[in-house]
Amino acid sequence: MPGSDGAAIGRRRFLGFVIAAPTLVAAAELTRPESAAATPTPVAGQVPSPEITKIVDLTDMMTAATLPTAGLIRVEVHEDGTVSFALPRAEVGQGITTSTAMLIAEEMDVPLDRVRVTLADARPELVFNQITGASNTTHSTYTPIRTAAAIARLRLLEAAATVLGSAASELTVRAGVIADRAGNSVPFGDLAAKAATDRTEQVSVELKEAKDFSVIGTPRNRIDAVAAVTGRKKFTMDLDVPDAKSTMVCRAPTINGTVESAANLAEVRGMPGVTDVAVVSTGVAVRAETFGQCVDAVRALRVSWKPGTAEGKSDESVLDELRAAELPLGPRPPVANVDERFTFYFRSNSALEPNCAIADVRADRAEIWSGLKSPIVAKQEIAVKLGLPLTRVTVHVTDSGGSFGRRLFYDAALEAAEISQQFGKPVKLMWHRADDSRQGRTHPMCISRVRATYAGNTVLTYRQRHTSVATDLGHGFGEIVTALAARLPVGDIGFSETFFQLSQEMSYKFGASTRWLNETDKGFNTGSMRNVYSPDATCARELVVDQLAGKMNKDPYQFRREFLRDDRAKAVLDKVAEVGSWGRQMPANTAQGIAFHAEYKSVSAALVEIDCRPETVNREIRDGVAGPRVTKVVFAVDVGLAVNPRGLEAQMMGCICDGIALTLTSSLHLRDGHFLEASWDNYFYTRQWNTPPELQIIVMPNTSEQPGGAGELGVAPSMAAVACAYGRATGTMPTSFPINHDTLSFEPKPTIPPVPESPTDGIRRAR
């Protein structure tokens, strides 16, 4: 490919390609050339900076990782006037198909509803460039997608000039139609073939200036909204793949237990609807005409199990392990200090759509459908597992019913491939909710120890030691980090430490500041959960910030304002304080809390009001947890450049609901080698009765020409603000999360059989 350096020519001029095809295909490399110039070259012998995120943060690191290896992304113009684009990322609800369509609509001057964005199959040639994570999608694709779209527009203009007999410079483009000054016009569709080329060639193009944007930065509804509200949106289990019958797995009573022997396979094979039963690496797989019959078959199986990977462990024993693994802070210093340790229990990153995948494995090929954020790694591992060449495995990325970190892994896809190979038949694999909760991935339990010293109005030191059950980052993040870690000025530290250092930022002027991560115990199925370290680490920090403010007799808002380093940070803080009437008089047992968080080149602040009055905490909720009610949230966010403010608000709304759950209600209880939670009425994610009646999200004016990250950004400040508000309302700083963890608010379901029977009384109130 010629000119693959992709260098930016001038400030807004970029190189791309037109690709040989029957109709117009414009392409660009999935790189951000200007970012290459901005990536600092580490100075030999440079000591690790206490503020490494100011030099290069995780966003830069992931973007830089894409530079030498990227393939092309293509914008295609069709004869019906539509424009299509296969996005090499996963849509999991975060709205990137919509924001991507907006970028294309903007550069091409085509109506948004004529842009079709689909999800690309796994493309191994993209190497590190097909992972959806760390809120990086918009940051890394913003310029490449616009470049391809701008080239398409340029070619259409040139073709129109020939058709209309007018110079391209005299033509205007509006809503997918090109017109000359005399009023003659030609629509994009009529130009799709004429603008095509039979020879791939490099083209340079100038991108629109921000001042000319009419789509980017305007609030738009999701492009899949109609499909979602009519039931037409297709998720993995909604796909009609021939003969892919319902399949489930009977799983062990303890985490990662495996089959020792199964007593009644033949009997279960004879049950109504059942077609296949077999022992597999994760349990006993059953395939049937309906999932209902799979549930019955799973419940009928008599299996004896080998121990799992967390045998006998409990919350208490893991807490002991964490304390033993904590890096020492040394003796208490002889100056005034705040010294606190916070505990965060296991949490489930289950989405509402459980782990699922369709697999059709034949002797010489395999085809997989699943919601995958790391499809390349998934494809590689599936090929190895099946003993097939990579080229004989096709992996389709489907729309996901949520992710929250869960879809970074491909547990169901790998398992479905194994089962389909064993049965010699296509399978539609679904994890039961109980499996998804008990055997699915979790956010690891962790502790965060913080010691800050101060004198007068100065914070002298701030040291944080975060100790966690190991987070599995083996989904491809690890590879990116591996590739770049050696070139970063962070010394010889492991993947997780690098990830931790790059994702955590000290936004306050707190003198000498250090943070270190230590990990222990790889026996659990873990992963990120919107996101990896920030909600817990930030919650601990912001609670200590409130403590420091108290020691110095300062108001929590004014203290933050005084110590925050930069103006963008102060602006979001000021905004929530002003709009949320910080400091207003409130009744006893109710209070405000305020918190700040920066990550992904974005800043955010939350102001929360909480009601901890007994009549509120003890209000009656059937099969649920009431507890304190967050009555109001005011949230301000600055992501640099907001491509779709309406989508950004939606992301912050979700982050706020997550933050409320993390502080107040949602956790897994580990007992005797298994998690007790097996249902949404066991695991207390935020429900309508916990939802803040008043919510205001403020998208700040743009402060950059580049979009920062957003998908996970809001969880940390929301969690922290709720914790701070709870501390102020009750007069007791919380140190263990969620605050209700010590009260088990449900009757645990049995572990054998591993899934509950479906109820039969659903019709009662319907007639």
Partner: protein, 158 residues
């Protein structure tokens, strides 16, 4: 195998399946009606919420044998037709608020919302915050505040 006949989205259907198979799987696995979603299978998450003779029910908890030939099951796919429009007013309210994120729970949320508004109307009273607090449908994306706004505005158009 026993035959079961009932009505779905205005059409009479007959399925050949064991008596105790729950309606959710009859709809999804046998009839290919995939709007109602699986989220728990034990009538807790409410992602499969549909209507039976106009009332909200959860098909994951209804053995198909419980249905009579005259019973009318309405899933999200058939909701708009009940008002003889392309979209039900509640679906339009959902679009105006841009409620959906991943969208997985939204068919159930909309069906629950329509049933709630009908119930409140039948009792001759206004929708309250307590009514909204009482909705059990889970949304793991956390779209709850927009759901509340959509129900309030959709109710006015119903």
């Amino acid at each position: 195998m026993p035959k079961h006949t009932f009505r779905v989205n205005g059409e009479q259907v007959t399925v050949d399946v064991a008596d105790d198979v729950r309606l959710l799987w009859v709809l999804r696995d046998l009839l290919g009606i995939t709007g109602p979603k699986y989220g728990c299978g034990i009538n807790v998450c409410k992602a499969c919420t549909s209507h039976l003779n106009g009332n909200a029910v959860n098909p994951c908890a209804i053995p198909v044998n419980d249905l009579e030939p005259t019973d009318e099951v309405t899933t999200i796919e058939g909701l708009a037709a009940t008002v003889d429009q392309d979209l039900h007013p509640m679906q339009r309210a959902w679009l105006e608020q841009d409620v959906a994120q991943c969208g997985y729970c939204q068919p159930g949320q909309i069906m629950a919302a329509v049933a709630l508004v009908r119930e409140v109307t039948a009792h001759g009273r206004e929708l309250t915050e307590a009514d909204l607090d009482g909705i059990r449908n889970i949304c793991r994306c956390g779209t709850y505040p927009r759901i509340r706004e959509a129900i309030k505005s959709g109710a006015k158009e119903m």
